[in-house]
Symmetry: C2
Subunit: 418 residues, 2 copies
Amino acid sequence: MRAEIVSVGDELLKGQRVNTNAAFISAALAGIGVPVGRVVACSDREDEIVSVFAESLQRADIVLVTGGLGPTRDDRTKKAVQQLLGRGTELNQEAYQNLAVRIKKYGMEMSPSLREQAMVIEGSQVIPNTRGSAAGMIISCGEQFQNHYLVLMPGVPSEMQAMMELTVVPSFAALSETVIRHTPVKTIGIGESRLAEMIVDVEDRLPEGTTLAYLPHAAGVNLMISTIGRDRDVVDRDNRSVVEAIVRTAEKFVYATSEVTLEETIAAMLSCRGVTVAVAESCTGGLLASRLTDVPGSSFYFLQGFVVYSNQAKHNTLGVPEETIKKFGAVSEEVALALATGCLEKSGADFAVATTGIAGPSGGSPEKPVGTLCLAIAQKNSADVLSRRLVLQGDRQQNKLRFTEAALREFWQCLRQA
Amino acid sequence: MRAEIVSVGDELLKGQRVNTNAAFISAALAGIGVPVGRVVACSDREDEIVSVFAESLQRADIVLVTGGLGPTRDDRTKKAVQQLLGRGTELNQEAYQNLAVRIKKYGMEMSPSLREQAMVIEGSQVIPNTRGSAAGMIISCGEQFQNHYLVLMPGVPSEMQAMMELTVVPSFAALSETVIRHTPVKTIGIGESRLAEMIVDVEDRLPEGTTLAYLPHAAGVNLMISTIGRDRDVVDRDNRSVVEAIVRTAEKFVYATSEVTLEETIAAMLSCRGVTVAVAESCTGGLLASRLTDVPGSSFYFLQGFVVYSNQAKHNTLGVPEETIKKFGAVSEEVALALATGCLEKSGADFAVATTGIAGPSGGSPEKPVGTLCLAIAQKNSADVLSRRLVLQGDRQQNKLRFTEAALREFWQCLRQA
């Protein structure tokens, strides 16, 4: 069984919206062993939608569509299906009830354009919308399309996601005969080429049906090991053997072999040991605290953060001596150290991580170019204070992100050794 | 002239990577009046790449490709082009020099697989790679494809972006005969249906060639008004008249008619008036400070942030009375007010914005469900303190984002009235 995804909407072709829906749907289908052959984004024009649907239905058993089901005039998906299949629409009572309840909740009145959202293609199975008003549909397209399926869902991510989880994935899971297993190997602190050289022997001896993909990101490379087959035990065994071989070879750089983030890995280490952290940030401007508090339950180990942007704030709030700032500059390992020790003291945490740097676009100098980061980590009851100076490359937001990744990486390595 | 985008890479079909490249390329082409007809993501398989290229080259004058130019084995784009066009490859000296310099910089040795990145399709125009090692190419595909163009670029976003800006956009700008004008109207604090009702008269009378798209996001709706035509003056006039009509009708909710963010709008207001802000965050965990410091030059108006996650930090760092926390709970308008006034005092800023709430997934109660946000804004030399309590819906990260958007929105409204 093979799927394709069609994302309908001019906004995707004008660069006004990134197609996150396709990634979500692909990942959900991967989980039930349904490979996605292509993803096509097309315009709201009815004739264009008709062509794209017809082409995808020839190649794929299931075509999952997002977009074009809303109440506004640029929503043409249902019209296109009517034209393609020569079918009419009918009012679905369940969808109408859901719509009526939502309309009432927002204090609005039913109107013809709103009512349209409860109209479905004749003979389709309705996908209830638990988070919005437009009904979804699973449509068997008849003999002209070898009984392949069209699945229509709204473009609003939360509505589509709920439909996938509650209805679409369970419906198609039963029909899939292929087993796919994906395992990520998440690394940090090593580039793509160096990692590729390191694991060349593993890559030379991949079992049949197993592939290895490199997914570089801001501060490292994630690997994805995918195995496809018909026998679950063989698929699991082959996949695991490759993952284990990579972990053995590149251990120093691997922080996870599951879909967890670096901050979640750090969270688990802190929670496990019952220790706490606080942060003092200049150049990362709150992003480091934000990443650490993205993890549910972070209040158990994250005490507080200080975003000390101005020199005065560094001095007044965390006691960084004005002389240190004057002598070494606000962006210096010395100030990073003073921030970390001040933060440790003020917060009472077990660890303090501090960043100071130049995110740009201005503020650089020959000695301290844009992209310079000084970071420090201090630890309670320990004279050992770690500091680092790095120079990274990127625009302001990339630098903030990379600075934050670098701080998380150093903190992770520090916790690993502790 | 019409373009299509092809994004090559299994990771896009497995949901392991979101296709941000396609959005970037589309936006860049929109700027020079080249509409994008379709975006196709396909696998790394050579035969599949060949089919997709052949189909797109029939429909579009330019096919822009990302991915599959790297040094690893899953990089098959050049092989596919060789097969499709029946051409060989040749070493490009300029690309080889660039590669050699980069390899030396990283202390590596030249190898056959690295050298492959300086090999280009015979007869192609090389696109220099200023941020990486793989050469890009503009290839005129000959009579079999009506001399349509294939543009090959790496999948690494920063490398592709530099190639687009420095070479691809300037090359094709000269060939385009159509004028397109896109103007965003960015709103906050109003939903899609309500906004659609409000501007129904404008939408009923759109000039020919002008379209209106709704782009809902976490905390509001952006509109995109697009006008296409051959005469620049007419296109500009029609586009502007629609934008002005919408702004007149929905003024209360419009914060920008250009590609600026809400935080940039706030930044401009603060800079203009020479006033400063500090923030005190609990539930937003640093994200509010991070958003405000995403803007270049934020050190002029952003003094500092306090991420006071624990109750103790709220008390010790910002002087929130323990009694207030005990009596009203950490998530209450009373604590939000105390956070704002404490932050104002400690920082010396002109404005202080404070958030406290329940991002979830746990910590909710019947009176204060997950999604509850209390926020407050205090102002120097003013007894007027604003506070709000809202209940929003989402998972932890969505809530953090929506809480932050809500705080920015309230602050923007407050600055507007001040």
